[in-house]
Amino acid sequence: MTQNSPPRTTSVLAPQLGRKERPERRATSEIMRKYGHLLFVLPGLVFFVAVMVGPTLFALVISLTNWTGRGISFEFIGLQNFQDALSYWPLYRAAINNVILFVAMLIFQHTVGLFIAVQLNEKPRFMEFYRAVLFMPVIISLVSTGFIWTLMLSSNIGFINPVLRDLGLGFLAKNWLSDPATALPTVIAVTAWNSVGWAIVIYLSGLQNVPEELKQAAHIDGANGWQTFWRVVFPQLSPSFTALTVLTFIGTFKTFDLVYVLTGPLGSPNYRTDVVGTLIYRTAFGGSGNYTDDISMSFAIALALVVFAFMTLIAWALIKILRRREIQS
């Protein structure tokens, strides 16, 4: 490509220099005129192909083999990995945890997130401060978030349990992350803490786009604050609702780092917090340092591609459905 491009560029510029004979000159400038603009897309396209399309295709090829990830011996086994993936029950166990996380987060974002956004939209004093504080967790790296929370939740040196005890609520103290009953809810709570900033920012921007006069009109029409919000303001927020729902879906289904740091690659205790992210990681790189027999890179990739396909389908359907109920303007 690098070798080819200089002469091509010359011929592209040639018409302006006027050195070539007429017919060819015509032809080049014709092509240039029709497709010249594509040159501007080229750098981005090359980059996209190099880091997205290329590796994905490469992964697809690997998923058709039985390569374990170590050594160089492999055979093509066709779609066997995909067939296995679809009937691999740990995948469903993990996916159900993702679904639980998604539903819980969805409810949380659309209630607590919306509520806080509405409060901030009333322009309280120090609004910038609240907004910054509430958005802060979003920009903290997930690994740090996980680590901070592991420390806070730790039964011995932690923060939560001692506080509960000091408040006389000692009976509520738990081994939050190792108790099967509380492990997943705890992961949900930390994820919620971490991502409520998104909900607030998205809803806040939606709220700020609702014209003041719309609310005033509703007031004059006799609506009280509650009716004004639910019947006039909230329907204007459906684009925010759509964006947030889709982002939450994607976010909860690709979650990995937070779970990994909080409860490890096995989704302990007893896979209660196992999500597709940790499952795929474990399948590809092994769950614990000791035994690595069941590692299979090609199978992990097949799992990842299956999840990818399903997520694409569901995200597309979500957008399709939610867009339809948005206001046409």
């Binding site: 006069e213 009109a217 509703a218 329907p235």
Partner: protein, 387 residues
């Protein structure tokens, strides 16, 4: 049905911006009052205080002789039409119009009947199921009207309801709104900065400037007897020509010295203006409406001592008449904050006359201009108040 009274209504925004200053007005039951003034003079603020959308700093608002300062908007029995229409975008036209009744839990059958009735008046029957986004500007405007009239309120408040429409539709909706108001006979306060709307729609016109009421009167009186130079220059298009001048002589044979020109002032002028005689010899401001100036060639019988010598610098022909620009060598009386929509910017000292269609004057010609001296306006040179 109700009368509306404003008593010393004042609004000061944080930062000491006095948007409305001591506004007192009485609007009779069923009256159509137009509140007009340049941009930023506090019209919307006044309206919002009446509507209960903006807290009142001082003064009182009375609706049906009841002080409503502490009432919420929904308890004031008013309806408002917004400049942006503020239609609920997610609701059909039907629901937009019916919203207030739905909130008030009016029975469904009655809602349907009343919406049908309003839709018939406003010719919206074919659009009831559409969303506002799929309507034309004029149709949206009518939906906004429908939303206001369905409630059968005591008072309509309208804030520049036509300013988002194109010129032609504006003319049409202007008469429609006036007709609807006459039919339903609801007290109406209509805010605009368009002087044509002010002159054609209202029973009375209230003109504001910088939050201060300048004059309230019928459109005819506002036009013919403006209370001060601001009113004089705001109402009328092109605006009134205002010059510093002097009266000389005595009542029976008075002369107006306007730069290098002298105009004879008929004695009848003094009969109408008791204080004018006392101003003989003093500096005054004289106002000449463009239509009181005419090409002298079209008026051969016009008295010779009521003419100006002029040199035409521009002739804008409108077909029906000509806007002829000519300088007068008298000092121009400037009125600050002049701002009407169809303002014509005039070079300093240039006077505009509206000449008849048959006038043949051309730019570059020296002509004689006939002045209707019995129709001149006189203002105090210091205060700008009408004499």
């Amino acid at each position: 049905m109700a009368n509306v009274t404003l008593k010393n209504l004042t609004k000061t925004y944080p930062g000491q911006v006095t948007a409305v200053d001591n506004l007192s007005l009485e609007i009779a039951d069923g009256e159509f009052l137009v509140l007009v003034g340049p941009s930023g003079c506090g019209k919307s603020t006044a309206l919002k205080m009446i509507a209960g959308l903006e807290p009142i700093t001082a003064g009182e608002v009375l609706i049906a002789d009841e002080v409503v300062n502490e009432y919420a908007s929904r308890d004031r029995d008013i309806a408002m039409v917004f400049q942006s229409y503020a239609l609920y975008p997610h609701m059909s036209v039907f629901d937009n119009i019916a919203f207030s009744l739905q909130i008030a839990k009016v029975p469904k059958a009655e809602i349907t009947r009343r919406v049908g009735e309003v839709a018939r008046i406003l010719q919206l029957e074919d659009y009831l199921r559409r969303k506002p986004g799929n309507l034309s500007g004029g149709q949206r405007q009518r939906v906004a009207m429908g939303r206001a009239i369905i409630r059968q309120p005591s008072v309509f408040l309208m804030d520049e309801p036509l300013s988002n429409l194109d010129a032609k539709l504006r003319v049409q909706m202007r008469s429609e709104i006036a007709q609807i108001q006459r039919r339903v006979k609801v007290t109406t306060i209509y805010v605009t900065h368009d002087q044509v709307e002010a002159m054609t729609m209202g029973d009375r016109v209230a003109l504001m400037k910088d939050g201060v009421l300048q004059q309230v009167d019928t459109p005819d009186n506002i036009y013919n007897r403006p209370a001060n130079t601001f009113v004089a220059s705001f109402i009328g298009s092109p605006s009134m020509n205002l010059y510093r001048a002097r009266l000389e002589g005595e009542v029976a044979s008075c002369t107006l010295v306007l730069g290098g020109n002298r105009l004879a002032i008929p004695a009848s002028v003094f009969a109408d203006r008791a204080e004018l005689a006392a101003k003989i010899g003093a500096d005054i401001i004289v106002g000449l409406r463009p239509e009181d100036l005419e090409d002298a060639a079209l008026l051969p019988t016009h008295p010779a001592d009521q003419r100006l010598a002029a040199h035409v610098i521009l002739n804008e022909s409108l077909g029906s008449d000509h806007m002829v620009h000519f300088p007068i060598d008298a000092p121009l009386a400037k009125v600050s904050d002049q701002d009407s929509l169809d303002e014509i910017v005039v070079a300093e000292g240039v006077c505009i006359g509206r000449f008849g269609a048959r006038s043949l004057v051309k730019a570059g010609q020296s002509i004689e201009v006939a002045v209707a001296c019995d129709r001149l306006h006189f203002f105090d040179a210091a205060t700008g108040l009408a004499i």
